[in-house]
């Protein structure tokens, strides 16, 4: 290996069947290095979200192996907890806790899981909210915010746990068009700060500008992995060309 950076996520031959027999992942391999931004694209039902969710054990898998920051994901609950502490996740539907204020959304996990003192966590949470540009909303409830603001809070909430990797599961799909940009900007800022990120998205512009590599998935398999410039201008596989035509 010539790559200077350490391996952050190592997935080998991951196979997943749903209880109803559907073969969702068919031997997927992927290596993500520290500081790298990987964008996963693909048509709906291609298994890209499922694959992403195996990284923090929201989905289990039957064969293959995944290591995150050197911790193997196994049936060991302690290791699963350890991985979840290392991995932040941002969902399509934000999934903010509507009964807690924005600030409490951020401080809940660090206080309960990391057992950090509340004062310190609050200070850090306010810094993070400032970083995503919504410090003045700290005492509001999620229901009082716009979609874009909510997704930025969700990002800040994950960051508050000081993760080593951030996973984004279609973070802009549920947003009104005018709010997409503010979220992408925050993500871009994160990437520039050197955060390791795996992003499932359809945002071609984001992939072009930010991603180090683009992964195309289809039918539960990885079709192509390539740097964005190569992927978008000169895809190697017929399936990739077809996909790029479809998303225009």
């Amino acid at each position: 290996m010539t790559t200077p950076a350490a391996v952050m996520i190592e997935a080998r031959g991951v196979e997943k069947w749903y209880p109803n027999g559907f073969h969702a992942l068919r031997g997927v391999d992927l290596t993500v290095h520290q500081g790298e931004v990987v964008v996963i694209m693909g048509p709906s039902g291609s298994g890209k979200s499922t694959f992403l969710r195996t990284f923090n054990a929201l989905e289990d898998f039957q064969q293959g192996s995944i290591e995150v920051d050197g911790i193997p994901l196994s049936d060991d609950l302690r290791q699963i907890d350890a991985v979840r502490r290392e991995v932040g996740m941002v969902f399509q539907q934000f999934n903010l806790f509507p009964h807690l204020s924005v600030l409490d959304n951020l401080t809940l996990a660090p206080v309960l899981v990391r057992k950090l003192p509340k004062q310190a966590v609050q200070r850090r949470a306010l810094e993070l909210l400032d970083r995503v540009g919504i410090a003045e909303q700290a005492h509001k409830y999620p229901g009082q915010l716009s979609g874009g603001q909510q997704q930025r809070v969700a990002i800040a909430r994950s960051l508050c746990m000081e993760p080593r990797v951030m996973l984004f599961d279609e973070p802009t799909s549920a947003l009104d068009p005018e709010m997409v940009q503010e979220v992408l900007e925050v993500m871009q800022g994160l990437a520039q700060d050197g955060m390791t990120m795996v992003v499932v998205t359809h945002e071609v512009r984001f992939a072009r500008q930010v991603a180090h590599r683009v992964v195309l998935m289809d039918g539960g398999m990885v079709v192509e992995i390539a740097p964005p410039e190569q992927f978008f201008s000169n895809p190697q596989h017929e399936r990739s060309k077809q996909f790029l035509r479809q998303i225009g």
Partner: protein, 320 residues
């Protein structure tokens, strides 16, 4: 997962932990149940009351105040219990119909253009729902129904007599100081039925109100712009749509009505529970009588649920 460094210990293994938890729970429940059952067996054996059903065939030795099935004291216990069950079913079925009609009337009255009617509907619901049913039943029986006049003073209409002993239909005759007629409803039945209908109607009214409120306002507006009168709109346009919300809500109210009918003991009506209690007192067969009682109500509940689910299917289909 195939490649793992070492198998994790069982207490934090994602694959085994769920089974472990279930095993512990099952074991705990099993131990408690076994403990109770062994005690039951032990105690029943000690008192010579081991589970047996032969007593059902012995003559009951007591009479029933009213029964559709012919019954007298020489008939066996199972006939007495059956007569009680039939009486329960009689009051449940009549109660379902009555509570539905009254509940629908009151539920729709809360959408009346008449403010007084609206207010009264609200007051009815709020008053009735917050007073215990048992209290209401006792009130209906002892304060209202037993205040009816008797004998020659009874309320007499052509073909109908309402007396302290009941409602008599179809050419009632006063024989030896007692009213007699082909068709007769006792005041006990009347009090129980009235209490159940009045009480359940308050809950049904809320279900109906919620159902009507769930129909978009646009439906009313569209209908009235087509020139429908309000009552026609309600019956032809709104209620059919509201049914999809109303029917599931009524299901649980109907089941409570069936179960509440067991409060018949408070007003002297010989329902299944009342007969069971007498049977228990005379045979001492506590466990068997309880099993019969619980089983019967469970079956009644299941039948109501099944019927309502069928109705629900019909209502939902109409939507398409």
């Amino acid at each position: 997962m195939t490649s793992r460094s070492a198998a994790p210990p069982w207490w934090r293994n994602r694959r085994y932990l769920p089974w472990l938890v279930q095993g512990v729970v099952a074991l705990a429940v099993g131990v408690v149940v076994a403990f109770l059952l062994s005690n039951l067996l032990l105690n029943l054996t000690a008192r010579g009351l081991l589970l047996s059903w032969s007593w059902l065939g012995q003559p009951a030795g007591f009479d029933l105040a009213e029964s559709i099935l012919p019954f007298d004291a020489s008939l066996p216990y199972w006939r007495a219990l059956l007569a009680g069950l039939v009486n329960t079913l009689r009051v449940v079925i009549a109660g379902l119909v009555g509570a539905t009609v009254l509940g629908t009337l009151i539920g729709t009255a809360s959408f009346s253009s008449n403010g007084l009617l609206r207010g009264l509907a609200r007051v009815y619901v709020e008053v009735i729902r917050n007073i215990p049913l048992l209290l209401q039943l006792i009130f209906w029986y002892f304060v209202v129904f037993l205040a009816l006049p008797n004998g020659t003073d009874a309320i007499q209409l052509p073909g109908l007599v309402l007396a302290k002993s009941g409602l008599f239909l179809g050419d009632p005759q006063l024989v030896n100081g007692v009213w007699q007629a082909p068709l007769r409803f006792s005041v006990e039945f009347g009090a129980l039925l009235t209490g159940l209908v009045v009480y359940t109607a308050a809950f049904n009214a809320e279900v109906v109100r919620g159902g009507i409120a769930s129909v978009p306002k646009g439906q009313w507006e569209a209908a009235s712009s087509l020139g429908f009168a309000p009552l026609v709109t309600l019956r032809r346009i709104v209620l059919p749509q509201a049914l999809r919300v109303i029917v599931p809500g009524l299901n649980s109210q109907y089941i409570s009505l069936a179960k509440n009918s067991s409060l018949a003991v408070a007003c002297g009506f010989t329902d299944l529970y009342s007969v069971s209690e007498t049977t228990l007192n005379q045979t001492g067969r506590a466990v068997e009588v309880m099993l019969i009682l619980l089983g019967s109500y469970l079956v009644i509940d299941l039948v109501i649920s099944a019927l309502m689910n069928g109705l629900n299917g019909l209502v939902q289909l109409k939507e398409r």
